[in-house]
Each structure stands twice: as structure tokens, then as C-alpha cells.
């Protein structure tokens, strides 16, 4: 449908030089429009990141910064207590991510499919808004409301879901899923809306039912979205912090069963009641989180994303 940009096959030299001039003007505009954003990005995002990695190579505990190379990293991974907490937080984080992926994405697909099915008729807009509202709420409200709903004393459920080591993390993850299911839903909804009507009409003429139209026509067309949703969920859950902190504080129990990398970082960097704040070890944890996200995201874009082929229509 779209013309494929290829090597310059313009007919004459005059046109070519004209294009050259255009390109230079284009380049100037490019700079003018990107530089302000770039400067803000560098100062407020890239720089603190680099600085934090830099910081993790120093020991500042005595008040005087001393370069120690990778000593902080060695300590984080080899000290029995800190490494136990780190691996525990990482495992919990993986579980947190997995629950989001397994529950939130299919649920988002289901809701998007229902919204675009036409069965809701004129109330589509209403449902779309209702389903998206939780996403716009503050995590503090979401945490508070859910904690009251499942409170064994005055809530609906008799079992202390958040007080049991086995159920605390899944419960918390599902609260988060409830809140953010609107995100994959809206992505997939937009993709489904973009499926051209003539294709669907052709499918209908060929005798395909609603079920096979969805799975054999619509689904392949929106499939590339899943890669993007998965990687966004990954980044988002590994940067996760707010809901856990709002519900369980910086030493999230019971027995650290809801501790994720974000809270581990917060506890290390800012300290807790009984724990001194350790700036350089905190920076180390932050850098490790950054690397965990970077490696997977880079691998995704480098290896997987390129191979995802959109169907040309």
C-alpha cells in the first residue's frame, strides 16, 4: 500500500540538487526541533543514569569518595544477606512480570475484541471509558480500596490474602493487573480498529464466522502489537515500585515475599528504620536494574522486533 523507499531513481540532476538543498533544510529543522527535547532528556534522564552508574563505582560511606571499581557489585552478589535479598527481589519481580503478561494481556485482548465486536452497539464508548478509568487512578487509591475489599475484618474475603507469603505477591499483582488492564486493551483496540473493513467484508463473503474471522484475519494483523505490549510490560514491571510501597512499605512483607527490585533499591538507597542508607550500594542496585531492563529491551529490538513482519495490505 505504501510506496517502498528505495535508492534514488530520480530522472535528472537538477532535481537531485534540489533534493540536496531540501535535505539540508530538513536537517536544520531536524536539529531545531529535537535539540530542546534532547537537552531536557540528557539533563534529566540520561545524565542521572550515567551519574548513578558512576556513583556505583565509588565508596562514599566514610564521607570521602573513594574509587573501588566493581567492589559494590561484588558485595551485592556475594554477601549472603544482600545477595539473598537481591535474588529474592529479582524472582519476585519475574513473578510480578509473568502474572502481568499471562493475565493482563489476554484480558486486554478479550476486552478489546468485545469493544470492537459491535455487540455493545452504542455503549461501546461508555465501556471503553469505564474499563480505562482504573488506569488513571492513583496507586494509593487502588491499593487502599483493594485492601479494604479483601480485609478479613471488614471486607469480603475471610482469608488474609496479603498476610500469607504464598498469596501476597499474586494478590498484589492482580490488583495491579486490575488497574492497568486498560493499557493493553487500548493498544489492541486501536489496532483492531485499524483493520480495514473491506478485508472483514471479504472474509464474511467467503463464509467465515465471527470466531474464525477474529483468529484468522484480525489476530494475525494485530499480532505485532503483542511484542510491543510485552516489552512495555517488562519495562514497567521491572521499574515497578509504587503499588508495593503504597501497600507494604519499603520492607514489603510478609517475610519479604512482596519485595521487588524497586523497593529493594528504595530500602538500600534511603535506608529504613533499622537500616542505614547506603548511597553507593543503592546506586549499584539501580544500575543493575537498568542493565536488566537494557539487556532484555535491546535483545528484543535487536533480535525479535525486526523479524516481526506486518502483513502488507
Amino acid at each position: 500500500m505504501t510506496p517502498v523507499p528505495g535508492p534514488d531513481n530520480g530522472p535528472g540532476t537538477s532535481l537531485r540538487s534540489e533534493r540536496h538543498v531540501l535535505n539540508r533544510a530538513h536537517y536544520r529543522y531536524f536539529l531545531a526541533f529535537t535539540l530542546p527535547a534532547l537537552a531536557v532528556y540528557v539533563v534529566f534522564a540520561a545524565l542521572p543514569l550515567v551519574n548513578s552508574i558512576w556513583y556505583s563505582l565509588y565508596d562514599t560511606d566514610s564521607g570521602v569518595a573513594r574509587f573501588v571499581g566493581l567492589e559494590n557489585y561484588v558485595y551485592l552478589f556475594t554477601n549472603p544477606t544482600t545477595s539473598e535479598r537481591f535474588w529474592n527481589a529479582l524472582t519476585n519481580n519475574l513473578e510480578f512480570f509473568a502474572i502481568h503478561l499471562v493475565v493482563e494481556v489476554p484480558l486486554g485482548l478479550l476486552l478489546a475484541a468485545l469493544l470492537t465486536s459491535g455487540r455493545l452497539r452504542r455503549s461501546t464508548g461508555l465501556y471503553r471509558t469505564l474499563l480505562f478509568i482504573p488506569t488513571t487512578l492513583s496507586v494509593v487509591i487502588v491499593g487502599f480500596v483493594w485492601r479494604l475489599i479483601i480485609n478479613p475484618l471488614w471486607g469480603l474475603i475471610d482469608f488474609p490474602l496479603l498476610g500469607d507469603e504464598r498469596t501476597a505477591l499474586p494478590t498484589l499483582s492482580l490488583m495491579s493487573v486490575w488497574q492497568y488492564v486498560g493499557i493493553p486493551m487500548i493498544f489492541l483496540y486501536a489496532a483492531l480498529l485499524a483493520v480495514p473493513g473491506d478485508v472483514l467484508e471479504a472474509a464474511r463473503v467467503e463464509g467465515a464466522g465471527a470466531w474464525s474471522t477474529f483468529w484468522r484475519v484480525k489476530f494475525p494483523l494485530i499480532a505485532p502489537q503483542f511484542g510491543l505490549i510485552a516489552i512495555l510490560t517488562y519495562i514497567w514491571t521491572f521499574n515497578g515500585f509504587d503499588l508495593v510501597f503504597a501497600l507494604n512499605g519499603s520492607a514489603p512483607g510478609p517475610n519479604y515475599s512482596t519485595d521487588i527490585l524497586g523497593t529493594l533499591f528504595y530500602r538500600t538507597f534511603f535506608g529504613s528504620s533499622g537500616q542505614l542508607s547506603d548511597l553507593d550500594l543503592g546506586a549499584t542496585v539501580a544500575s543493575v536494574i537498568f542493565l536488566i531492563i537494557l539487556v532484555v529491551t535491546a535483545a528484543y529490538f535487536g533480535l525479535l522486533h525486526r523479524r516481526l513482519r506486518s502483513y502488507e495490505l
Binding site: V50, G63, R147, A251, F270
Partner: protein, 434 residues
């Protein structure tokens, strides 16, 4: 493509330049203070750093005007940071040369590390120290016994009880552990009220309002605490085991689903009149007495009738003079004022639940606060067990206590397992215990 390459190079260059500018500073603190020395006729401006953002109005409207009235040349500004970020904020401010003139001091290890970094002016030999007992000054001293901060307030821990329920069931305030358990049993047998409003979701209060409150009777307060610090006693000693046993004895008297009840749930359970006893800290005074509930308070029970009574008095905050301040004389004047009854009475009565640590008794206008303060009479005072030195390494003893107490209630971890785990953690890094 060129454009992209150029921008990448630009980012890299900018990053390199700015990073070298922002690298961790290796220069010791030299500049500081927030104002230049006052010229004649001008006011000296002092800043007071604090973690109690909620007290801003109280300081600005009540306390500081009282000070400035008698000291017209000094203008004190209250500069508070969020509680959780206070330590990191002060560290980066002082290291960066922008710290306040007066620093509010955290007790024990945090302050000890700040003393080591040279944040404070030494107070040794100053007359204002005479208003306090050594036990009150110790939390803010270095290993050699030099003093750096002047105590402002402490918090106490005890048991709030619903007088109505006690009268209805014909119960008397327990004074020994046996009486305490008997009272709990009677309330449980009656069946209408929860004996103890305790949830285990927030583990800190199991330690601070539970074990550290009822335990000193068994480990004999300072004797046991100093024993752990010096390494002459172990957590696995019978004295400590008895304390953990006394804590485990609470389990049958907790509300349904206690595993996921939070601190506000506990308070609510008590204030709604559904629970008879709430083990809590003095800071919660205003919340427990809300709704006109008739509330009394009693201290941790003695081991046997006529036995020694103990009470947890936790030094909460003190104030020190920043070594980098350019207004030390004015700062000292302010600090000396905080040791006077004028300040202390103003402070503790504006903040019911906080108690003066000074020798001279203070009158409390809040009756519940006064009865809390009365518990100090005849009782041996001791701070929380785990916060002094024992938590300055990894794993921090205090955090570990929170964790094992929660496991004792939630997962039936035994006293023996709990104390062994704690001892193992402590021995792994704390030299006197090795």
C-alpha cells in the same frame, strides 16, 4: 543518518562533561550554613533541618515565635524533608555544602555515622547538657562519650485499654504477666471482644510495641541490651528466650485474619470498641482517644508480683549544630533554649505522645499523656533493643527481629528457631558477638 550520528555524539559529549562535573565530591565539607554572618542590626537566619514535615505549622506559629520573642536578633527557619528521605537528603546536603545550621539527629547508628563524617559541632562541657541524664544523651554520643546533640523528645510504649470493656467484664489492670494472660483469657472466654488489637501485617510494630515493650522485664532492660552490644550475652540466652515466649503467648488472643491487618486497622478495631487492649506507642495518643472513648494506659507487666517494672523510652529526636554552620553562636543560643522548661513544655503539649527527656519533670495537659508519663515513675527505662549498634551491619538486627516476630505469629516459627536465626545473623558481622 548524519543527523542521528551527530546527535549521538552530542549526547555523549554533554554526558561526559556534565558527569565529570557531578562526580561524587571528594572534598570535605567546608562551606555551609544558609546565611552569611549577620551585619549589625540585621537578623541572623538559622535553618533547622527536620524530618517532621507535619510539624511545620507548630514550629512556625507557636514555638519559633516564642524563641524569637526573647531572642529578637535570631530568625529560625524550619526546613523539613520527608521522613523517609531525610537521612539521604541531609547526607547529600551536608556533603554538598548546603546543609542546615541545626540538624535534627536520628538516634544511635545513623547519628554515629554522621558524627564520624564530622557533621556536628562537639557539645562537651556546655552547661545545657546538665539538664539531661547520661542515658538520654548516650544515643547521640560517639564511642569516646563525647556529646553532639541535645535531646528533644522521646516516645514511650505501653498498652491502651478500653475502660468500658474492663468495667463491663469486671477486669482489673494487670500488673504481672500471669495477670495479663488471665485478663486476655477472660476477654476471650466472654467472646464479645477481641482481647488484643494486634495485626502482623506491619512487622515494625510487633517489635516496637510488642517484644521491645514486654521483653525488658526478662532481659532486665539495659543489662540485657548492653550485654548484647558488648557481646557478653546472646539472643539465644534463656532471658531473651523468655521474652520471645511471652510475645508468642499473645497469639491465641489476636483478631481474625490478623496476618493482613495493618496498623490503622488495629487502631480502628480498638477505637470502634471491638477490642479491649491495644499495645501501642505513645505517639498514637490522639488517634486512640478519638470518638470520646474512655481510654486508660498501663505499662508492660512485671514478671512476678512486686517484681521490677520496666518501660521502653525510645529517644526519638535531638538537635545538633552543624560543623559547617557560619552562625554557630546563634545556633548554640537556640540549642540552649531547647533545654529549657519553656521550650519542652511548649513542645510536648503541642505534640501529645512525645515526652521530654530532661531531668526536670514536665506537666502534660493531655491526661492520657500525663498517665503515660506517670508510668515512668518507679520503672527502669530502656530504649528499643535492636537499634543501637546491632543494626549497623548486614543483616540489620532490628529488621531481622521484625521479620522473625512476624513469622512467629504467621507461620508458627518457634522461639528457639527465631532466636537462633537472629543470633546467626548477628554473629555473621557483629564483631563482639563473634
Amino acid at each position: 543518518m548524519h543527523a542521528i550520528r551527530a546527535s549521538v555524539a552530542l549526547v555523549a559529549a554533554a554526558a561526559a562533561v556534565l558527569t565529570s562535573a557531578c562526580a561524587p565530591s571528594a572534598t570535605p565539607v567546608t562551606t555551609g550554613g544558609s546565611a552569611a554572618p549577620a551585619a549589625a542590626g540585621e537578623k541572623t537566619v538559622l535553618t533547622l533541618g527536620s524530618w517532621r514535615t507535619e510539624d511545620l505549622a507548630m514550629w512556625e506559629d507557636e514555638i519559633l515565635p516564642a524563641f524569637e520573642k526573647s531572642h529578637p536578633t535570631i530568625d529560625v527557619k524550619f526546613a523539613a524533608t520527608n521522613t523517609n528521605e531525610y537521612n539521604a537528603a541531609i547526607q547529600s546536603q551536608v556533603d554538598g555544602g548546603t546543609g542546615p545550621d541545626l540538624i535534627t539527629c536520628r538516634p544511635y547508628d545513623v547519628n554515629r555515622s554522621w558524627i564520624k563524617k564530622g557533621y556536628f559541632e562537639k557539645l562537651d562541657g556546655k552547661p545545657m547538657l546538665d539538664a539531661f541524664e547520661p542515658l538520654a544523651l548516650d544515643p547521640w554520643s560517639d564511642d569516646a562519650g563525647s556529646r553532639y546533640c541535645l535531646p528533644t523528645a522521646a516516645v514511650l510504649a505501653g498498652f491502651y485499654y478500653n475502660k468500658g470493656i474492663f468495667a463491663e467484664l469486671g477486669l482489673r489492670v494487670p500488673t504481672t504477666q500471669a495477670e495479663f494472660l488471665d485478663v486476655l483469657k477472660k476477654i476471650k472466654d466472654d467472646g464479645r471482644y477481641t482481647p488484643l488489637a494486634v495485626g502482623s501485617s506491619e512487622s515494625w510494630q510487633l517489635a516496637y510495641n510488642g517484644l521491645y515493650s514486654i521483653g525488658p522485664v526478662y532481659w532486665k532492660g539495659e543489662e540485657g541490651r548492653q550485654g548484647l552490644i558488648k557481646g557478653t550475652k546472646k539472643v539465644t540466652d534463656p532471658d531473651f528466650q523468655k521474652a520471645f515466649d511471652a510475645f508468642a503467648a499473645w497469639k491465641p488472643y489476636l483478631p481474625k485474619g490478623f496476618e493482613s491487618l495493618k496498623y490503622p486497622d488495629m487502631t480502628q478495631l480498638f477505637t470502634l470498641g471491638k477490642a479491649a487492649i491495644l499495645p501501642d506507642g505513645s505517639w498514637n495518643i490522639n488517634q486512640v482517644a478519638v470518638d470520646g472513648l474512655d481510654v486508660g494506659v498501663f505499662g508492660p507487666p512485671a514478671d512476678v508480683a512486686g517484681g521490677e517494672r520496666y518501660l521502653q523510652e525510645m529517644p526519638d529526636m535531638a538537635i545538633g549544630i552543624s560543623a559547617a554552620s557560619t552562625n554557630k553562636a546563634a545556633a548554640e543560643e537556640f540549642l540552649a533554649w531547647t533545654a529549657t522548661p519553656e521550650f519542652l513544655e511548649l513542645y510536648v503539649n503541642k505534640l501529645p505522645g512525645f515526652f521530654s527527656m530532661a531531668k526536670q519533670p514536665v506537666t502534660y495537659t493531655n491526661t492520657l499523656a500525663q498517665s503515660f508519663a506517670d508510668l515512668k515513675n518507679g520503672a527502669k527505662l530502656t530504649p528499643r533493643l535492636g537499634l543501637d549498634r546491632l543494626s549497623a551491619g548486614t543483616p540489620p538486627f532490628d529488621d531481622e527481629v521484625w521479620r522473625v516476630l512476624q513469622l512467629m505469629l504467621n507461620e508458627d516459627l518457634s522461639t528457639r528457631q527465631a532466636t537462633e536465626e537472629l543470633q546467626k545473623g548477628l554473629s555473621s558481622w557483629y564483631t563482639p558477638q563473634q
